[in-house]
């Protein structure tokens, strides 16, 4: 499992997993909640991040600041546990 992570990789993961409906050409600052991410998708996302990057997000990470954009997610994943 890799620890480093980029916003592009997060976008790719979100597309592969079908968690949100991202428009083409979306960048790292896209608002994932505006794109339809809800609390159920957040739970799936946290599980997937642990599987892919070995980083365990918890209740303290369940905020818009951490989960709101591909870039903020990538930063949190790089930070690790």
């Amino acid at each position: 499992m890799e620890r480093s992570c980029t916003a592009e990789e997060v976008v790719e993961m979100l597309r592969e997993e079908g968690l949100v409906d991202l428009p083409a050409g979306v960048d790292g600052d896209a608002d994932l909640f505006a794109a339809g991410m809800d609390s159920m998708a957040v739970m799936q996302l946290i599980v997937i991040i642990e599987e892919r990057w070995g980083v365990r997000l918890g209740a303290a990470d369940a905020t818009r600041e951490v989960l709101g954009t591909p870039a903020s997610l990538a930063a949190r994943i790089c930070e690790g546990k």
Partner: protein, 390 residues
Amino acid sequence: MKADVLIIGAGSAGLAAAVRAARAGARTILLERHGFAGGMGTASLVHTFCGLYLQDAETPQWSNPGTLAEEIGRRMELATGLGAVKSGRVWFLPQHPVEFAALADSMLREAGVEVLFHSELVALEPGWRARVACRGEGIDIEARAVVDASGDAVAASALGMGHMMSDSRSLQRPAYVCGVQGVAGEIDGLALAGWIIDGIRAGDLGTAATGMHFRASGRAGEVFATLDLAGMETGDYDPTDPRCLAALEATGREVAMAVVACLKRSAPGWEGAFISHWPARAGVRESRRWIGQALLTGEDVMAGRRFDDEVAVASWPLELRETHRGPRLRYPVGPAGIPRGALIAAGVDGLFMAGRCLSCDHEAQASIRVMGTCFATGDAAGKMAAASAG
């Protein structure tokens, strides 16, 4: 008993069909297995009316103005004091199952519909003769026209007629909704998701808990907990198999009990929370579908296709829930018409259908199954049935 129009099922489609047929002057009998009308919106505690409004509009605009979809929407707004809410590209109306059951009683009484609660269709012959059972006692009903608003195409099954059913693996997954009370403060869905994940990590919850989400009911301290289920507790998901349904109901309760117990321990504001009511039944999204004189397809809905003979408008996106991992929404280019023939059975006279079991494919059903659209197709089927009986 004799009637002009017999309507099977008093869910959102059957309610609208019965009110419309009776207002058109038809002697109308409405058959319902529960002790109240409303179907998914009451028995299954589904607490939002979707499909009432046009997609992408700046302000909420009725997609079926002048029909019972608008009338029920307006009456629900008055009952709850809540208006339409925009979520992403769509508008929906929060509704309360308690208000809905009472509103449905009023509308049926005002229209003069003869209501048979606690009754199930057991046999049907063209012509039409229906046998209904209430607590082991048979009742025979003669009617000139029948509307199947059962959600499960039970009339097709009773007649031994062909119908459509998606493969078990692609059927839209069921939802289990229960009422929770004693919750203090606002609902923060994101934070609750975090607490559930922590509960799974701690081994207190199974992964089925990731299908759970919450919405405030609009009443103080009351929340609806909605759990999307895989439906595969005892093998393949089959919404017409009572063994499968039994496992589904028990699993819904088991997961909900564990999640609420977990949130009581961990989530601020949830210390005094308790499950206050179970649904009468788990919410089935997709089941048998009729084969009608016309077939509405997912391509028709996505293209916003209009028909010369359309009788209602579908305005909700394709809300695909083929897994229990949340919805995948596909947005049509605009509202689509539902052709008349999709509400008329093929191969038999005087049989109409409305709601989620009308004649459409699996993809189109992902749009037309929502209650706002069911009111509109029910209204249209009630009108056609009354005309054919008159």
